[in-house]
Symmetry: C2
Subunit: 229 residues, 2 copies
Amino acid sequence: MVGRQQPRMQAVNDVSASFPTTSRNRVKRLHERGSYDHAAVFAVLDAGLLCHVAYTFDGQPYCTPTIHWREGDMLYWHGSSASRMLRQLRGGRPACLTVSHLDGLVLARTGFNHSANYRSAMCFGTARIVDEPEEKKKALAKATMVIGMRIEEASAKVRAKGVADDEEDYGHPVWAGVIPVRMVIGAAEPCPRQMPGIERPGNLAGYAEGERLDRALMQAQAVYEGEIS
Amino acid sequence: MVGRQQPRMQAVNDVSASFPTTSRNRVKRLHERGSYDHAAVFAVLDAGLLCHVAYTFDGQPYCTPTIHWREGDMLYWHGSSASRMLRQLRGGRPACLTVSHLDGLVLARTGFNHSANYRSAMCFGTARIVDEPEEKKKALAKATMVIGMRIEEASAKVRAKGVADDEEDYGHPVWAGVIPVRMVIGAAEPCPRQMPGIERPGNLAGYAEGERLDRALMQAQAVYEGEIS
């Protein structure tokens, strides 16, 4: 990248704003579930550790799981510097990063009305390798490859309710209801080679046994935003 | 599709086989974590309700969350018949369906060795709208649109171990360990409009409060395979 200035990726953090609605991010199905508010999109992103990123290389789509983090409207995630594919991101490439949370299995009286409770956010933008030293350091001090993308368009989609059967089906004598699910934190397993007398640090208190991971992650994001602002 | 015979999608269920290794599915990074065995790939697929599918339309990659199910080496998932994009799948399009399970946060002594325990499977093939009546009926009686894909290539990747710090770092006086996470089933919430005297059916017994969702789903898949074989 000698002699080439990469565009400065200054994060914008305006939770009262909305993402523009285009043919790319418009929620087509069950659009009453969709939202383009920054706050709604960020809430879904921040509650997840794991995301999936879609890229296209040589006409083949790839759906890659990775770990993301957010700073304002900038998303960052890990890539492998060993990947010949990902090195093609240097010049910037369209990508879509999605975070989804499964919240429940919705069992209706008829198969057609079976559903799931969930929260998801799809974010569109141009993925680039982050190699501006200042930004890379800020994003992750020692990663081999960090990829960044400003969210140009995004939508959040949430279903959070009970069974919605067709009116004529409520009389069917079959069990219907919601089976909720949640990502729960287990008992920490300290490294067997732990130095003696080392306590678990206070900033891990949110990751206590039995707590919900999504809540712990959202709390951690709030602390992070307090530190950088 | 008048006058055009769709290839018959007969599922193959040979768990002792392996998927071919090509440039598309070869696990590039940390390849000791990778596997191409049908059994390893199917175990990851069957343990998940939610998947993410990458498609490309007009050069833009889309990463769409949906619910999948598997019959042998055939994958099926839901699509919206309202989606103009998905109707482009009629003629068949390359796609990548990925299922990922987060199993733990691995906190090392240095940022570079932080990691996650996970299980993931990436499956490559040609996604098509299922409109052969027999297959569609078998796949899902009343869905508006079902998409099917034979898994041509696939890989599973698993990390399931403790902290792996560089040897010289074990003396650092910082807490290191694994914080496990798991998707847990909560107390069922019966529909408030339930008919009186309706019991929860026996085939939902696996989805009991406190059970792990991945295990319940794998059990359900085993029952399903017993029924169709």
